[in-house]
Amino acid sequence: MSLWPLGLMLLFFILLFSRWRWPLGLALAAAALAGGLLQGVPFITTAQGGLPQPGSAIWRHLVEGAFVYIDPMLIMVAAFLFMQVIRENGLLSALTWWILRGLGKRPALLAMALGLFVAFPGMLTGLSTASVLTTGAIAAPPLRRMGLDARRTGAFIAVAAILGVVAPPVNLPAMIICAGVDMPYLGFVLPLLVLCLPLLAASSLWLAHGALKSGDAGAALDEVDKGPLQRHGLRLLLPLAVILVLMTGPRLLPAHWPSLGMPLVLVLGALTGLFTGDRVALRPAAEGALRQALPVMGILAGVGSFIQILTLTGQRGDLVLTVLQLPAWAAWLGIALSLPAFGAVSALGSASVLGVPFLLALLGKPEIWVCSGISLLAALGDLMPPASLACNFAAQVTGEKNYFAVARRTLGPALLAAVWALAVMAASPWLNRLAGGG
C-alpha cells in the first residue's frame, strides 16, 4: 500500500499544466492515462468472459469517469446564458442601482445582506455554481462600484456560495454522506444553521466591510446606468422572478410541483429575459455562454477521469486509509485537510469518498452534527485549486482573469470555516444535548 503512484500522477499533471501549458482538463486526463497505464490498466480490453478475469481497457475508464459531471456541465452552460442575458438586457444594472440605493450607506448590513443573497440559490439547490452565476453575478457590480477590487469581490462571492451549499434546507454533500450510510436526511436544519450563519456573517464582513466602509455610495450610484430601469421599470425583474419561483416552488410544494431541474429553470429565466428589457441577441449570447463554460467543463471532465483511475488502481482507497490510520491527535487535522484537499478535484466526490468513511470512523458522536461538519469541510473543496470551481466562476463574473488570485483571497475565510467545522464536530455531544438531542 503506497501513495507514490498518486504522487507521480500529480507531478506529471503539474508538469503538463505549468511547464508545457496544457489546458487543466487535458493535463488531468493525460495524467490519469499515464498513471493508469503505469499501474497496469490494460491498453486493450481482454476477452470478456475469458479466464483469467477480463478487464476493460483504460479508455472506457477515462470516458466513464469524465461523464460523472455531465449534469453540472449543463447547469454551467445554462447559468452562463442566464448571466449573459441579464447583463445585456439591463437587469443587472437595475439591481445594482436598487442595492446601492437601499444599503449603500450601511456597509456592514450591505456586506451581510449580499452574503445571504449570494448564498440563497445554493441553499435551495446545493450547488455553488447556481449561486455564483446567478445572485453572485448580481452582487458583483454593487460591490465593485463600492470600491471592492475584483479579486476580493470574487472571493466574497465564492465563499458565500460555498456557505449556501452547506446551509439548509438542501446540503448536497450531507445528503450524499447520508446516502452512503443509509441515514435519513432529517434533523439537519439546526446544525447547519449553527455552522453557516456565523461564518456567513464573519466572512462577509472580513472580505467586504473595509472596502465598503470607505466607499462612496453616492458616487457609485451616479455611475450606474439607470437607462434600462427607466425604459422597462419593474418588468425587468421578471427573469429573476421566474427562476426564484421555479427554484422555490418544488421545495415548498414537493407533492404537487415537480422540479424542472436547474438547467431548464435557468434557460427559462434567460428566455424570459429576452422579452423584458433591452434587446438581447440570443445566438451570440448562447455562443458566449458556451465559450465561457467550456474551459471549466474541460476541467471537470479531466477531474472525473482522474478520480476514476485513482479508484481503479486502488489509490483512492490508499488515500482514505492513510488518513484513517493517523494517530488520534492527527486524525482531526487529517480530516480537516484531506476533505477540502480532495474536494479540490471534486467537493461532492470528497463527501462521498472521504466523508462516508470519516463519519463511520467517528460513529459514537452525534452523527447529524458530525455529518454537518464533514459536509462543510467537503464543500470547502470548491475553493481549492486546481479546479477551484467557485473561484473560477467568481473570477468570471467579476472580470478577473486569474482565478488562482481569487482562490488565494478565500484562504482566510476557508481556514476559519475549517476551524469552526472542527470545533462544532468536537463539541457535538454538548451541542446535541443543548439542542435537546439524545
Partner: protein
Amino acid sequence: MRFVKPISMKEHARALALLAAAALLTVLAGKDFLRQHLVEDLWPSPALSARQWLSHWHAPLKGGRGDSEVFVFRGQEEGGRVLVLGGTHPNEPAGYLAAVLLVENLRVEAGEIWVLPRANASAFTATDPQEGTPQVLALPDSLGQPRAFRVGGRATNPLDQWPDPEITVHRPSLQSLSGVEVRNLNRSYPGRPEGFFTEQVAWAIHRIIEQEGIDLLVDLHEAAIEYPVVNALVAHERAGDLAAAAVFGLSMNGVEIALEPSPANLHGLSHRELGDALPGLQATLLETANPGQGRLRGRTNAEQLLLGKDPCYDAAQLIPGMNKVKVGPEGLPLAMRVGRHLDAVRELCAALELTRPGKAVRYTGPPTLAELDARGMSPWLRPVSGLDQPRKAR
C-alpha cells in the same frame, strides 16, 4: 458580445487533432460500453414451471431495458409463495449470483418460488462513474467452460432515466434524498405506475407481490465492509418473528448474521415500503460483506470481487471499529457470500412454514454454504457453450 477571433492554421490543426483523438476514444470506449448491453442467458433448472416478463405486471416496461425475466417454480404441494430479488444493485454480485443459482438448480416440492434475478435490468447495462467496477465476472461452469456474468452499477442506466434532479423527492413520503437516488431501485418503492423509469420497475415488482399473493419477499444485496448493516437480515416489523426464527436457524448452522429492524423513517426501501403497503407480505432484505464495494478498497477488479481479498481492508482491520466484518486470510470469496444468501433464503422459507402454518415452501437443488465453501460455484452453474453462448442486446 461576440466571441469571434481569427483562428490560425496551427489552431485549426490542433483542433482537428483533438477531434480525431476524441473520435478514437469514443470508438475504443464505445465498444466496451456496447458490450455491456449483451444479456447473458440463464439456463433454468428443468423443474421450471413458468417464465414471465416483468412487463406482464406493468405493460409500459415491455421490450425496454427495464423489462426482465421472472422465473416461477411451483411444487406439487400447496404452500406459501416467496419472491426472491437478485440484481437490485448489479454492483453487488452475490445478490445476482445467488438468484442465478436458484434459477438454475431449484426443484420446489411445496409452495412456489418466484425469482427475479435482474430486478433492475437497466442497471446491468452500465457501471457507475468513478467506481472503476469491472463489467464482467467470468466463472467456470460445471464443465469448466467460462460463463460471463455482468456486473453493473448501483443505479439505472442514465440512458433510460436522465437527467437526475438535484434533490430526489421520494413518493409518497416526500422524503428528500440526494439526486442520484432517483435512479436507485431500492429507494423507489412502492413505485408509481406513471413515475420515473425506476419507479415503474419498482411498481411492477409491487404488482407481482400484490397480484400473485406473495407471502415472503427476500431482496438480496451486498454492502461495504465498513458499512454498519452488513452480514445482516433486515426485516419489516411484521416479519420480525419469521426473521428471528431464520437467524436462529442460521446460527445453528454456524452462520452468524445480525437481525436489523427496517428503519421506520428511511423511505423507498423494499422492506419498508412494500412491507407497509402490502399487509399479507413479510418483507426482508439480506446483506453480505463485499470488499469490492467500499470506500476503503484497493485495486478494483474482478479478482477482488471473486476472491474477496483486499490489502486495504486487511490494513483497516487495525483501525478499531472500522471493519464491521472480520476479514481472515481466506478473504470473503464470492462463493461464500452467495452461500450465505442461499442458506438464509432456505432458513427464511423454513421459518415461513413455522410462523405461518399452511404456507410451507420446501425445495432442493441449490447448494448450501458448506457445499459452496468446499467446491465453489462451478458445479451448480449449468454448462453452456462457453463464451459464444447466445446473447441478445437490450
